[in-house]
């Protein structure tokens, strides 16, 4: 089984890649994908995940062919911080 993993924005920069492929044989969760592909123990609290372009929880199961994405908090729209 194989899934596509995508990283966006500052997270992609920190990890040095925006896409990779994870092959696996046993059942996995979103958090398992993070551990396997980043070699970090668990998803940082501020990192968001999506499976097949919908928001997902770290405990959600992934399936063959899924696209799993990880990204920092979103900052679209008009932003003013001052």
């Amino acid at each position: 089984m194989s899934i596509t993993v995508r990283y966006f924005a500052s997270l992609g920069e920190r990890l040095g890649r925006s896409e990779s492929t994870v092959d696996f044989i046993r059942e996995m969760t979103v958090n398992d994908v993070w551990r396997l592909d980043t070699a970090e123990m668990s998803m940082p609290a501020n990192i968001l995940a999506a499976v097949n372009m919908e928001y997902a929880h770290p405990d959600d199961r992934v399936h063959n062919g899924d696209e799993v994405a990880f990204f920092p908090p979103v900052t679209g729209g008009q932003s003013v911080g001052d």
Binding site: F8, A9, S10, E13, V74, G81, D82
Partner: protein, 150 residues
């Protein structure tokens, strides 16, 4: 309903006019339109900003914006909604986002528009990387609370 992701400059007045004249169902009579336009400023977090790059997650962006409009529909009665969002390289004074809601009643048009703007900011997969006037780059880390008063 329409969701549009633009790689080039947005003319908000043209977008609104075109949508209202050509895309809106002509049999449906609206009485109220609530509109929000967000524009890039040359200051953010007390730093002068030269330009910025808006990254997004193609596919999920459109999904999520459609979900937001559907969520709004469950709470307010409106006839149509339009979201236009810029991506790519943006300079100060460029329109970043346009949200418009057409409704029978003005309360629904204004409240649904506001809801869509706030939901977009907190859940649509867009990220901003600013280039400061010093040449430094930085990722925007948070959005301000849109319901706050100055």
């Amino acid at each position: 309903m329409a969701i549009k992701i633009c790689h080039d400059a947005i003319n908000p007045w043209q977008e609104l006019q075109d949508y209202q004249n050509h895309a809106l169902n002509p049999d449906v009579q609206f009485g109220a339109t609530g509109i929000f336009i967000g524009t890039m400023r040359d200051m953010n977090d007390n730093a002068a900003v030269q330009r910025m790059t808006l990254e997004h997650y193609p596919g999920m962006t459109e999904n999520q914006l459609a979900k937001i409009i559907n969520d709004a529909r469950e709470r307010w009665a409106f006839l149509d909604a339009l979201i236009v969002h810029r991506v790519g390289d943006v300079i100060p004074n460029d329109t970043i986002v346009l949200v418009a809601v057409w409704a029978t009643h003005r309360g629904d048009a204004c409240d649904a528009c506001r809801f869509i703007v706030e939901a977009l900011k907190s859940t649509a997969p867009f990220w901003k990387k600013e280039v400061l006037s010093t040449g430094q780059t930085r990722w925007v880390e948070r959005n301000t609370d849109g319901y706050r008063k100055s």
